[in-house]
């Protein structure tokens, strides 16, 4: 029979008191994982039960889906468009006029989009700040509410209660317009985005062109903001922005044109449908178009590495220097909203939209799309936390000399491939196209970069020389002569 140990096994001795205050602070700071592991037992039991319930609910839903009980009914929560369609039919049957159903469903959709975008803006601010802080080894906001979740609300309240300042010499009417003018396209462009097979607010058959056109309206708003501020910084920022946004509209359009060529349609839901029919994402088939779209969009929405319009370290805040209070709040909100919008568009055009190789019949498609939007947004924040920013002339040179010619070349390649795909009917043709495109991307990019002069000479020594003897000009010449 084994004897029990003399004393119960103790927890390992805590390490000796750390010398520096910072080390102590780091060790004793509260973390989420620490809180969860040290939660009292009843809390853990409740959490486990909640998890089990969640799985049970999912199993039940899975059964319903397999059984086909949900398809076509208004309570099919996977596709709210079905419910809205049933509502429209019901309203039409009431006979109160043909316009009632249209207005009611339009209102429902608009309120839905606005509340979704507004809600995501609130949580998006929090995500951005906490995520950026994670990249920068610090905590983000963690004081206002649990884990700082009420920080965006506090910011909004603070901005709203600020004094409304109009700089002296600023054009009064033109000064009020830009925050509104920049918010409108940011909202309108969410229209055509398809969330589920029948859940798209504005599924027009020129959806792609509509999106491009709407997003170019914000250029005007930014320039009005810079001009009406009566401030050199603002004007400088506005001019830089206009130059940059106009330059980067073209690569965006050309890359989306490649998409349209392949799918044969400008309708966003048809593009998503093509990707789901061929079980292949357009981003895999045309990686250069995806990269061009993504990079040019950072220029369109003034995010790092292309945020010279509001290069904080040079011109304070660029075109929105003079804006304070909720007007500035609107500009910042729109920057965030635009980032999410680009996420939605990139997901729709290149990443398969609401589909995920068949998963969309189990999980509501709008959730899949939300995950994709978050992934692209994460990429935006990651770039912001990591990269320095380009200078304006470097940016413009990159757009005109590099992106546009290459985009045109790839559009030509896509046109040829699209016509081949339309005529020939081989089973693995799409995979062949993917491999060919990948190879061509590598080849063209390397070639063109060398032609344009972007290849950094790798043999040039960049490290400083180390020496132990001091001297002046003669020693400098000796060092330089000896090195080269």
């Amino acid at each position: 029979m084994t004897t029990a140990p003399a004393s119960p096994p103790r927890r390992p001795e805590a390490p000796p008191a750390l010398a520096t205050p910072m080390a102590r602070q780091i060790r004793e700071a509260p973390t989420l994982r620490g809180m969860l592991t040290r939660a009292p037992a009843p809390v853990k039991v409740a959490g486990a039960l909640a998890g089990l319930l969640f799985f049970a609910a999912n199993a039940a839903i899975g059964y319903l889906v397999i059984d086909g009980r949900l398809d076509g009914h208004w309570y099919d929560f996977r596709d709210l468009g079905v419910a809205v369609g049933e509502l429209r039919v019901w309203l039409d049957d009431r006979g109160l006029g043909p316009w009632l159903s249209y207005w009611v469903t339009a209102l429902i959709g608009a309120v839905g989009i606005l509340s979704f975008v507004g809600g995501v803006l609130l949580i998006g601010t929090w995500i951005e700040r906490r995520l950026l802080a994670k990249f920068q080894i610090r905590r983000g906001p963690n004081r206002v509410g649990p884990f700082g979740l009420l920080q965006p609300l506090a910011d909004a309240i603070k901005l709203v209660q600020k004094e409304v300042l109009i700089p002296r010499g600023a054009d009064r009417i033109l000064f009020y317009l830009p925050p509104v003018l920049v918010f409108i396209p940011a909202m309108l462009a969410w229209g055509p985005v398809p969330w589920a097979p029948t859940m798209s607010y504005l599924d027009i058959n020129v959806g792609l062109v509509y999106v491009i056109a709407i997003s170019s309206l914000s250029v005007l708003a930014i320039f009005i903001a810079g001009w009406s501020s009566n401030n050199h910084y603002a004007l400088l920022g506005a001019m830089r922005t206009v130059a940059m946004m106009i330059s980067y509209e073209i690569p965006v359009s050309i890359s989306l044109l490649s998409v349209a060529l392949f799918t044969g349609s400008l309708k966003l839901s048809a593009i998503v449908g093509w990707q789901s029919d061929h079980t292949m994402w357009l981003g895999l088939i045309m990686p250069f178009a995806l990269f061009t779209f993504f990079f040019s969009s950072t220029a369109e929405i003034n995010r790092t590495p292309n945020d010279i319009a509001e290069a904080e370290s040079e011109i304070v805040a660029g075109f929105h220097t003079e804006y304070s209070g909720m007007k500035a709040g609107l500009f910042l909100a729109v920057e965030l909203g635009n980032a999410l919008l680009i996420g939605a568009l990139a997901a729709t055009f290149f990443l398969g939209g609401y589909t995920f190789f068949g998963l969309e019949q189990w999980i509501p498609p709008y959730l899949i799309l939300a995950v994709k939007i978050s992934a692209v947004y994460f990429l935006f924040v990651w770039l912001r936390g990591t990269l320095p920013r380009f200078r304006l002339d470097q940016l413009m040179g990159y757009a005109w000399k590099f992106l546009i010619p290459l985009s045109i070349a790839f559009m030509g390649v896509s046109a040829v491939e699209a016509s081949i795909l339309a005529r020939v009917d081989l089973p693995g043709l799409l995979l062949i196209v993917l491999v060919v495109n990948a190879a061509l991307t590598v080849v063209f990019v390397r070639l063109w970069a060398r032609v344009v002069g972007y290849e950094a000479p790798r043999d040039e020594v960049t490290m400083p020389a180390l020496t132990t003897s001091v001297g002046g000009l003669r020693a400098a010449q000796r060092l330089r002569g000896g090195a080269s």
Binding site: V470, G471, G472, L473, R474, A475
Partner: protein, 199 residues
Amino acid sequence: MPAGPTQLSGRRVAAALAAALPSAVVAEHDEWVEVRPERIVDALRWLHDAPDFDAAQLSNCCGVDRHDRFEVVYHLQSLDLNQQIVVKTTVADHERPSLPSAYAVYKGALLQEREIYDLMGIQFAGHPDLRRLFLWEGFPGYPLRKDFLGLGDTTPGLARFPFENKAQPDRIINPGLRPATPDPASQEAPPGWRGDARA
């Protein structure tokens, strides 16, 4: 004597300077050589060009107010030969002191001479942009001068060490001195400022 470890003997420098530029040297000392104010730029240029001295860099250029005259000290540095030369000049006029500017020889004298002008009032002839550096245009007087009074009309200096002989005053109160007259030549922008196209 507290000379730097690489500081050249003033007598050697004085001998070489006297040989090259006669009548420039006024006095010599173990650590420094004193040069006539009108010939200071020539002396600096000669020291800059001479291969034995190779004074390539102006380490420090500083003014000292000696109550009845001003002294300007130039610490020159040769990087290749690793030696340091100290050159001084005395400006006798205490009311309107003036020196030729060393900017012709050393570009590094640009801001140092502006500082001396700002705080001591020595005009440097030939300086491209002689304006006040720290104080605003129109400031009355030159603060580092010994006759520029501090708070409570105290002149600079400490007469006794703190905690020693408390019967003696530690600060010198001398209300007899009056501050200098405001500086007439003050400019807002550097000469030739290309900011106004109309100017």
